[in-house]
Amino acid sequence: MPVSETPARTEKLSRQQYLDLYYYMRLNREVEDTMTRLFRQNKIVGGLYASLGQEAISVGTAYALEKRDWMAPMIRNIGALLVKGVPPRDIFTQHMAKYTSPTKGKDGTSHFGDLENLHIVSPISMLGDLIPVMTGVAMAGRYLGQKIVAMTWIGDGGSSTGVFHEGLNLAASQKAALVLVLENNLWAYSTPVRRQVPLENLADRAKAYGISSYIVDGNDVVAVYTTAKEAVERARAGDGPILIEAKTFRRRGHAQHDPAEYVPKDQRAHWEKRDPISLYEEFLTREKLLDSKGKKEIENRISTLLEQDREFAENSPMPPPETAKEGVYCTGPECHDLQPKWERPIDELLPPKSSVEPVWNVDGFGRGVSSAGGIAPIHFGDVPVAAVAPEKDPAPVRIPAKPQTSPAKKSVAPKKPAKKAGR
């Protein structure tokens, strides 16, 4: 884990990239500040969930994705949405439940997506559900030949859900091109991470799935970006899923209504001093990547954009009541029939032909012969094999056995096979 208080400069980034990261972090914070004002004016219909102090993670990770890649944010990953190309007006209209919002007022907050252009899958409030979904996205991408990476986020809290395990385990067993960013902000609502998980580093969870992991200072945008970039490229190259734990701190309460008085003062003070935007500004100034004029230009650009988009959102209508009943099913001309984008020759798949070798091929499967060369029992191991071994091949071998490439161990005792039965 990088320990420097300010980021180190690296040759991996161009000047423009450094400035982009700054722009999006500032935009992220200004969007949220605007929404806080709207919330206080009672213009936000439901809750407001802030990412104050966590902007470097949303921005740094999403910035590592390419246009073709897919993402599924959590509710606080507004910065990731902005980087992927969502205009601030969509975020404002969503929170204000306007008819012009991406969900036409059907849902709020960051709960929206875009399958066709931006490749964003909408989050839901049940944490962890996105992990298997994005695993499926990665699997479909591989099948279509698209070479995409799927990225999603989870918190320290969400990492205790059952579907976190199911999803990551499936991704690992499929070697899916999934990058899972675990934002450890130390608090799941009012419960500190030490009362949720008996681990110092949540990245250690990766070991259980046999996948790679990184730990990164979540308040250092350059460290986050370079780590995410490496993870994304490794996943794209076929290394399987990768878990990144980004250490950070949730500076606001769970939502606007929560003053978070349960947070110890010294902990808060420590992290207030490590504001990711302030740290990055110091770095940019020191490295002469940004002067006061450049900073002013960025601020003007952001305030003009947000002023326009806030006006648009405030002046947008609420959805007409009669639209409440629309859209449960995808029917008629309203239903967009999503067509896959094949980037591999379709004649590889049609007409059907014999299978690609399955990855799990086991020599001698079903023939009573083990891959280690001995006799594998196909019954409970407490009966001598010879006594029950059928004289002829008992079962047709449905999958042609592939020669083992690695030398088989000779001394492995045949395992007692599980009885095939309903669970």
């Binding site: 839901i124 499926g136 279509l144 999803g167």
Partner: protein, 324 residues
């Protein structure tokens, strides 16, 4: 063509759809190398390869979640539950994520979740479930529950081609017990259409899946008593073919619903409400329900027999209804 089993009809539907459309993939536990716990996917791995016939860990939420993710890129995944009872393990992923996907953010999730359901085979409380009503109450699903090989094949094809998440229940009692000659050409049975299995004029029996056959058996016995029952196979519970139900009840003026699902909150309750709303003046008697006991599915054959509806129970209830 020789007659085929219900099981073979399911296999053929998947095979033919996968052969015709590379968007169709199958994902589930033991669906590949083993060919499925009931052999409904036998031969598919060899034909279509591991990218399209995907064996998974024991993770129902991950199975349907991944199927949903695949559908977002334009694929049409079929997710298998080894036994439909395990669909409860992925209830959240189905009802919160998948069912709401189109309504909330205009993202169709054209997946089929299918698996063996129902009792009568002494499967006990965890291998005999009829879970249709958990999902009927969740807006966003289509729910299909066929009773014949012909319908199983034709309805599964329609389900795979549908743009919505479809829950497709296969009654395992029927898997190997009924055979039917079916056409060799590519046919589909539309979702949302009931079918009259036996015409009659004295009363209407509405049913589906295994109970369809029980109802027909009861109708034969009723005929010997001079009671002419009309038997309708609902086939699809969502959308429910209200038109067919109302047309029959307006003719016979009496309605009996037979389902294997437990009684309270079963589809009969919903049909009862529909008839009260739309055919109140056409009814000459009470709506009668013959359904399973409001208990878990018990294991012992004597208990399971007491639990399930059978032809005798339907016969007795129908005879009582006919007196009105």
């Amino acid at each position: 063509m020789p007659p085929i089993t219900f099981l073979e009809a399911i296999r053929q539907a998947m095979f033919e759809e996968m052969a015709a459309d590379p968007r169709v993939v199958l994902i589930g536990e033991d669906v590949g190398v083993y060919g499925g716990a009931f052999k409904t996917s036998e031969g598919l791995l060899e034909k279509f390869g591991w990218e399209r016939v995907i064996d998974t860990p024991i993770s129902e939420s991950a199975i349907v979640g991944a199927a949903c993710g695949m559908s977002y890129l334009g694929l049409r995944p079929i997710a298998e539950m080894q036994f439909i009872d395990f669909i409860a393990c992925c209830f959240n992923q189905l009802t919160n994520f998948i069912a709401k996907s189109h309504y909330l953010w205009n993202a169709p999730a054209p997946i089929v979740v299918r698996g063996p359901s129902g009792g009568g085979v002494h499967g006990g409380p965890f291998h005999s479930l009829n879970p249709e009503m958990y999902f009927l109450h969740t807006p966003g699903f289509k729910i299909v529950y066929p009773s014949t090989p012909y319908d199983a094949k034709g309805l599964l094809k329609s389900s795979i081609r549908d743009n919505n998440p479809v829950l497709f229940f296969e009654h395992k009692f029927l898997y190997r017990r009924i055979k039917e000659e079916i056409p060799t050409d590519d046919y589909a049975v539309p979702l949302g259409k009931a079918i009259v299995r036996r015409e009659g004029r004295h009363l209407t029996i509405l049913s589906y899946a295994a109970m369809m056959h029980v109802s027909l058996e009861a109708a034969d016995a009723l005929a010997k008593e001079g009671i002419d029952a009309e038997v309708i196979d609902l086939r699809t519970l969502m959308p429910l073919d209200e038109e067919a139900i109302l047309a029959s009840v307006r003719k016979t003026n009496k309605c009996l619903v037979v389902h294997e699902d437990t009684k309270t909150g079963g589809i009969a309750a919903e049909i009862s409400a529909i008839l009260f709303e739309k055919a109140f003046h056409d009814l000459d008697g009470p709506l009668v329900r013959v359904a399973s006991l409001d208990t878990p599915v018990p294991y012992a054959p004597t208990l399971e027999e007491a639990f399930l509806p059978n032809a005798q129970k339907v016969f007795t209830a129908a005879k009582e209804l006919a007196r009105f």
